[in-house]
């Protein structure tokens, strides 16, 4: 565009600066103490350890999905050679580069495999396998060593992929070399393919296998749809927080919020579409080995919760976010991001906890402690990744497109 501003705005080159170390300490302290409380609960309450592992899985899946959603967003922007999103891409890169922390946080789930009576992965329990020919049949895939090897592969692939984009993008801040952008564009297509495969199988392994006799081939897409909702909502909130703190105030504009809001709205509907696709096929075929999963979520203890998820994750945000004005006002958009993050967490509870107890509603202090605990560590990790790096890629060759970008 001829009329795009040629001068580089001042706040582009800004980093979090002095704010980061204090924030890291506070977040890590809050998270650490909540985690210690959860561990105490695990050892001093009835069925505590089992509850701990199930609840840990809920919250691990929640925070993992945010980083994976952000990672897929970065890859998608390069694959489509998007110009509009350059100013908010760095925030996604920072969220995605938190994956090494999530690799460390996977360790408790790996440890749970060696507590057969408490692990969510009941196929690792010899007593369960003994009474289930189906579980025995699936032992080729669902066994402890292979499970751990696969987990290592998934995490290694994601960490490498996140670093691939992050390091090149940061290097470009210094050199301004447009070849880096071309390189990322070339690799983004194959990487999306690898990402799709690893995410699908990771969700099969880590979430679907807690009901080892049940299966749904759309499960990976379901987790991805929720992950993208979580990732986009978290990035929008991160952008609002960044601007509140006085950074990137000129580079991230209403237009970027509007477009992120549109994507978020689209993926809310996509989530509903995928969730219904899974439900309808199982409902229609009405085969016991498939319906058992929904039966556990329609017991008196869980039915209301399931309906709340459906209404709160689909219908309410659909009507609430459909207006253009909502997406262009930070306060309203921020409200819906918090709302959707909450319901994304509820979605994770819905996926995991009925397997812990389908005859009662077990969510309580333990789950809140782990939500805060892992959340504190996650935020600390994000701030650590953001420390000393520019919050906007100032020398990206497409930055001027993002700055001049306007919605109709």
């Amino acid at each position: 565009m001829q009329d795009s501003p040629s001068a580089t705005p001042k706040s582009e080159a800004e980093t979090l600066g002095d704010m980061a170390p204090g924030g890291i300490k506070i977040a890590a302290a809050v998270g650490g103490s909540a985690l210690i409380l959860a561990i105490l609960l695990a050892f001093f309450s009835e069925e505590g350890l089992r509850h701990f592992f199930y609840s840990y899985l809920v919250n691990y899946a929640f925070y993992l999905s945010i980083s994976l959603g952000a990672l897929s967003f970065v890859a998608l922007q390069h694959a489509t050679r998007a110009g509009w999103s350059v100013t908010i891409r760095r925030l996604n890169e920072i969220l995605a580069s938190n994956l090494p922390l999530l690799a460390i946080l996977f360790i408790p789930l790996a440890i749970s495999l060696f507590f057969p009576a408490s692990t969510p992965y009941v196929w690792a329990n010899a007593e369960v396998a003994e009474h289930s020919p189906l579980v025995q049949h699936k032992e080729v895939w669902l066994n402890v060593p292979f499970f751990l090897v696969r987990a290592a592969i998934y995490l290694a692939v994601w960490i490498w992929m996140a670093r691939f984009f992050y390091t090149r993008s940061v290097r470009q801040d210094a050199t301004g070399d447009p070849k880096l952008t071309l390189q990322m564009e070339q690799f983004s297509g194959p990487l999306i393919l690898v990402f799709a495969i690893t995410l699908t199988f990771a969700s099969f392994d880590w979430l679907m296998s807690i009901e080892p006799e049940w299966f749904s081939s759309i499960y990976g897409v379901y987790y991805y749809s929720g992950a993208t909702v979580g990732g986009l909502a978290a990035v929008i909130l991160a952008a609002i927080a960044t601007q509140r703190a006085g950074h990137a105030t000129e580079t991230i504009t209403t237009e970027h919020y509007h477009d992120m809001g549109k994507l978020l709205f689209g993926f809310v509907v996509f989530w509903g579409y995928i969730a219904f696709s899974q439900y309808m096929l199982i409902w229609y075929a009405n085969i016991p080995e498939e319906t058992i999963w929904y039966m556990a979520r329609q017991t008196p203890a869980w039915l209301v919760f399931s309906l709340v998820l459906l209404i709160g994750h689909l219908f309410v945000p659909f009507l609430g976010m459909i207006s253009r004005e909502v997406k262009r006002r930070k306060v309203l958009l921020g409200f819906w991001c918090v709302w959707l993050l909450l319901f994304h967490w509820i979605d994770m509870v819905y996926l995991v906890m009925p397997s812990f107890a389908s005859d009662r509603f077990p969510v309580g202090l333990m789950d809140v402690c782990l939500l805060v605990g892992l959340g504190g560590l996650y935020v600390a990790g994000v701030l650590r990744a953001a420390r000393g790096v520019a919050l906007v890629p100032a020398k990206d060759p497409r930055l001027h497109e993002a700055l001049a970008f306007e919605n109709l």
Partner: protein
């Protein structure tokens, strides 16, 4: 040259000013100029550029469109129409039970509702965008300007139409020049208001033409023709061969299908062993003993085939226990029987419950009779109450099923000697 009769013809020399066109050098200049035209209070004007310019709508003061509201309304209408359509067709007008689902159930109806939401929304968005923009528009005063051709390459234009209440040729030209435009005045031929006379005539002609195909179809539907119908595409409609059941005068019996030569048997159809293939001995009596050996493998095969072909009606256990005939149909575990009996009770269709296979009536029959029943089914006074299964079940499998039916009989009425001492009751019968 004054020609009184040529008001409608384009050769008329009488012209009027229809619009004023101002050209600017860049997108930036166009945007700045648009803001000034907007502030000046003009209403009927437009900007033209070789490519879309970000922020032009705001510069021109175009208010937000109501199209989103129309699309939302259309989508909701689509959802309601879809629900009403499915409710009327499936639950009211022609209730048809499909795999035991309710006649009207939300999950089954959502796909159609989804599609109708999309269809109604898309058509409204497409038609609404055209209508709100007053498209298609085939002619515009700016086309009179040669200068305007540059709008597709390097020209950035603002056109102000003469219909605008604030339009005044001299003032508007001066205004556009004052904001930096190269001005061109677009003159169009003056003609009488209204539609040219040729258009109604042309439309009438087209409508008349449009009646020809339906009239032709109606004529051919109503009349009788002796000629074969027209085949525009032959494909494989006509083939030089004789079809089954057709005539062929080459043979004395005029049949195109030839019977086998007397005394010949096709491969695999030599069925000499009457006991095995018909269940009858040489004298035509039913055999009492199975012609196959009762091995464990064959028993298991019999159970597997039974559970596939027989259990849907007879139940996995072979039917009602002895002495409870005519009881609750739910006591059967055959799915077909359960559903058919339930419907028959509602007065919908008829159903003869199948025989209990462990009943004395069935178990007293010789093996050969059971074989014949599986092969040909049961015909009760002219009503086929059980179909024959000769096409579905091989001869060998029929004998395996009979072995399993005998086992089912024993399972319900075991000889006392087979019952362990510890669980015998006083009145074992």
């Amino acid at each position: 040259m004054a020609d009184q009769d040529s008001h409608n013809t384009p050769t008329s020399t009488e012209t009027r000013v229809a619009a004023v066109l101002g050209r600017f050098d860049s997108a930036g200049a166009l945007k700045a100029a648009a803001e000034k035209v907007r502030d000046e209070g003009y209403r009927k004007w437009d900007s033209h550029s070789p490519f879309p310019i970000h922020g032009m709508e705001r510069a021109m003061g175009i208010r937000p469109t109501i199209l989103p509201l129309l699309v939302f309304g259309a989508g909701m209408t689509g959802a309601i129409v879809a629900m009403l359509l499915q409710w009327w067709t499936n639950a009211v007008d022609y209730p048809f039970l499909i795999s035991g689902k309710p006649f009207f159930s939300i999950p089954a109806n959502i796909p159609v509702a989804f599609e109708l939401i999309i269809l109604f929304s898309a058509l409204t968005a497409f038609g609404g965008a055209l209508a709100l923009n007053r498209l298609p528009q085939f002619v515009h005063p700016v086309f009179e300007s040669d200068e305007f051709r540059r709008a597709t390459s390097d020209g950035f234009f603002i056109s102000i139409e003469a219909d605008d209440p604030r339009f005044d040729e001299a003032k508007t030209v001066a205004f556009l020049e004052s904001i930096g435009a190269v001005v061109d005045v677009c003159r169009v031929p003056v003609r009488e208001p209204g539609i040219p006379k040729a258009i109604p005539w042309a439309l009438t002609f087209v409508v008349c033409l449009a009646f020809i195909p339906p009239l032709g179809v109606a004529w051919y539907r109503a009349s009788v023709k002796r000629q074969p119908r027209i085949h525009p595409l032959h494909d494989m409609a006509f083939q030089p061969k004789y079809k089954a059941q057709s005539e062929n005068d080459r043979f004395a019996d005029h049949r195109a299908m030839r019977p086998p030569v007397p005394g010949t048997i096709a491969q695999g159809q030599l069925e000499l062993d009457a006991a095995f293939f018909q269940g009858k001995d040489d004298t035509g009596e039913y055999v009492t003993d199975s012609p196959v050996a009762a091995t464990e493998q064959r028993m298991l095969r019999g159970r597997q085939r039974f559970n596939i072909y027989c259990a849907p009606c007879h139940g996995f256990s072979g039917g009602l226990p002895e002495g409870t005939a005519g009881g609750d149909p739910k006591d059967f575990d055959g799915m077909v029987t359960i559903r058919a009996s339930a419907r028959a009770m509602l007065g919908d269709g008829t159903w003869t419950p199948p025989r209990a296979l462990h009943s004395k009536y069935v178990q007293d029959q010789p093996d050969g009779k059971l074989f014949e029943t599986i092969t040909a089914g049961v015909n009760n006074q002219g009503i086929q109450t059980m179909p024959g299964y000769s096409k579905q079940i091989s001869v060998e499998d029929r004998w395996a099923i009979i072995l399993y039916v005998r086992a089912l009989g024993l399972s319900q009425n075991p000889p006392e000697a087979d019952v362990p001492e510890s669980i015998r009751t006083a009145d074992s019968n």
